[in-house]
């Protein structure tokens, strides 16, 4: 590859190129920003994300491949990139004041966030298993550091170590699966894997085991049962602003990779993989929702809720092998990820607004359900945002969560799995119990919640909550946009 080719290819992935370069520059610039003015770094990081977002949107509709087919720039990558960049912006907005008051403000926080987003964008665009692996590591390693950024606080360190060990363990599975797929088909490019499989002559047992190991590796990342053990501990121990970003970004990136790999490369294996996906989705929805009922700590509750939502999205993946439904699989999963992103940030922004350090005149840390008592009277705006988020998580109209769940269930029923759709519906009913409990505490109990008046937190909570409601009214064009992101072989 000549220098000119390299420049052409870097131009093709311009948003990623710019973001990478910007993150590297920011790492140096940050050295010259005084310690008490790290808000400048946050602002510069947000600026970089906005520029990348503008570039991504201005290039929507382009479908091409770069770096010898290692990267695909298509509607799917564009849609996911928009989700990642928005979660990056929201991640910075919820982090800014929180980091200052927790005494863990560091410029590196924002730089690591940028690197992680670069990894996520590459993950959605990767068309080669090795590229997926590199992107996976690029998004994970900064997240390990971010989870432990509150060092020497023991719970943050513990969360970082657990996340790191299990994340690396999962990478091992993913990599070995990649090696086996390479062994079976002679290539790691998704297009060549599928053409080798359909033309026959591949070692099917290697291929199926490889696909299974890849599923395990990515299953850890998106936290589906039985690979979810790390999630509650990590979500609880990591600083809340990191958890908010991780819950959305890492999960969406994991699903982006799962969708692209399965829909593009593994349709010939649908016979073997569909029952596995079915069981994973069913167990994830049931176990995530049932255990969430027992949680009194809001961060742990949201962690189990995020596990349950991974199950719902997994549900869309079950009929991935049926040519006529596969398009809906991708569209409904993308739509749900968008809904999940907005809803999740609304909820986490409220959680962060209520969190406070122990010993500031209070013997709580603002994270248990009781701390939400009386929020409805004290802070009607925040309480309303939280209520919208909870309704959207359950899937009650008029929220984006309802529309998203509707599309998911429709896909599953079209694919011929009414049983799974029924499980999805019933577990949603179960989830209403623990989501509505938060609402009950906010409006029907008296209390004196400690709430911070921090403009960016308020803005994030309200903007995402309004988005959840308003976008649900205009869900039709949004879904059409997601439908255009259907995966095709270029």
């Amino acid at each position: 590859m000549s220098l000119n080719d390299l420049l052409v290819n870097l131009n093709l992935i311009m948003p990623i190129t710019i973001l990478t370069a910007w993150a590297c520059v920011l790492l140096l610039v940050d050295l010259f920003i005084p310690k008490e003015r790290k808000g400048i770094t946050a602002l510069l990081a947000a600026l970089g994300l906005l520029v990348a977002l503008a570039l991504v949107i201005s290039r929507a509709g382009v479908a091409t491949s770069a770096f010898n087919g290692m990267i695909m720039i298509d509607g799917f990558a564009t849609f996911m990139s928009v989700i990642f960049l928005f979660s990056g912006l929201a991640g910075i907005a919820v982090a800014y004041d929180y980091l200052i008051r927790s005494g863990i403000e560091r410029g590196e926080y924002y730089v690591l966030l940028l690197f992680s987003i670069v990894g996520m964008m590459l993950m959605a665009a990767a068309a080669d298993l090795i590229m997926v692996f590199l992107a996976l590591e690029l998004l994970s390693i900064p997240l390990y550091v971010l989870a432990g950024i509150a060092v020497p606080r023991p719970d943050s360190e513990e969360a970082a170590l657990k996340y790191f060990l299990l994340g690396a363990f999962a990478s091992g599975f993913f990599l070995y699966g990649t090696a086996l797929v390479y062994g079976a088909t002679g290539s790691t490019a998704l297009t060549e894997i599928v053409s080798a499989t359909t033309s026959g002559g591949v070692n099917l047992s290697f291929l199926v085991i490889g696909a299974g190991l890849i599923l395990v590796g990515l299953g850890f990342k998106v936290a589906v049962v039985p690979f979810h053990m790390w999630t509650p501990d990590v979500y609880q121990g990591a600083p809340s602003s990191v958890t908010a970003f991780m819950a959305v970004g890492a999960k969406a990136a994991g699903f982006a990779a799962l969708l692209r790999i399965f829909v593009l490369a593994f349709p010939p294996l649908a016979m073997d993989l569909t029952p596995v996906l079915w069981a994973l989705a069913a167990f994830t929805m049931i176990i995530g929702n049932v255990i969430a009922i027992a949680q009194r700590n809001i961060k742990r509750m949201l962690a189990y809720s995020s596990i349950a939502h991974a199950g719902y999205i997994m549900m869309a993946l079950v009929p991935y092998g049926q040519g006529n439904v596969a398009a809906d699989t991708v569209a409904s999963a993308l739509f749900y990820l968008l809904a999940y992103m907005l809803t999740s940030f609304a909820a986490w922004a409220v959680v962060i607004a209520l969190e406070h350090n122990m010993g500031e005149g209070r013997d709580t840390d603002g994270l248990s359900l009781e701390d939400y008592s009386g929020l409805g009277q004290k802070q009607p705006a925040l309480a309303a945002a939280m209520t919208v988020a909870m309704l959207s998580f359950i899937g009650i109209p008029p929220t984006l969560g309802f529309v998203g769940k509707f599309y998911l269930l429709r896909t599953v029923i079209e694919g011929g799995f009414p049983g799974l759709a029924l499980i999805g519906l019933l577990t949603s009913l179960v989830s209403a119990y623990y989501y509505l409990r938060v609402v009950v505490y906010m409006y029907m109990r008296d209390g004196e919640p400690v709430v911070r008046r921090e403009p960016w937190l308020y803005f994030t909570a309200l903007a995402t909550a309004v988005g959840v409601v308003v976008l649900s009214i205009f869900s039709e064009p949004l879904f059409n946009w997601a439908s255009q992101a259907v995966l095709k072989l270029i």
Binding site: I130, F133, L134, E137, I141, Y144, V145, G148, V151, P152, P154, D155, E157, E158, A159, A160, L161, K162, F164, L165, A168, F169, S171, G172, F173, L175, Y176, T178, A179, L180, Y182, G183, G186, S187, T188, P232, D233, Q236, G237, A294, Q295, N297, R300
Partner: protein, 100 residues
């Protein structure tokens, strides 16, 4: 020439040892070494298949994996040192302050 199956068999055994090490051992560093063993067993498989197909791709992947593993070591050991400073122990059973 040693048959391909032997290499694949060895890599599968190493991979299994790695998994068992992660699941059974309780010392964070040994768990981490087991993870590295899993990555290296994948490397061995990559090289074997690269020879089988007479293509360089697989060998190039190994370099990527080694670079990634080095990055993981940097982060992982830093975390383990930070925990050791706090607790004077890196036994994962004693790292249990988070629970429901």
């Amino acid at each position: 020439m040693v048959p391909i199956q032997y290499f694949i068999g060895l890599s599968a055994i190493l991979f299994t040892i790695g998994i068992l090490g992660v699941l059974i051992r309780r010392n964070a560093i040994i768990i981490f070494m087991s993870v590295e063993l899993m990555l290296n067993s994948a490397n061995l498989a990559f090289i074997t298949f690269a020879r089988m197909y007479q293509s360089l791709d697989g060998q190039v992947f190994v370099f990527f994996v080694m670079a990634v593993a080095a990055a993981e070591v940097a982060v992982g050991l830093a975390l383990i040192v930070a925990i050791f400073r706090n607790k004077q122990s890196i036994d994962v059973d004693q790292i249990n302050s988070l629970h429901g």
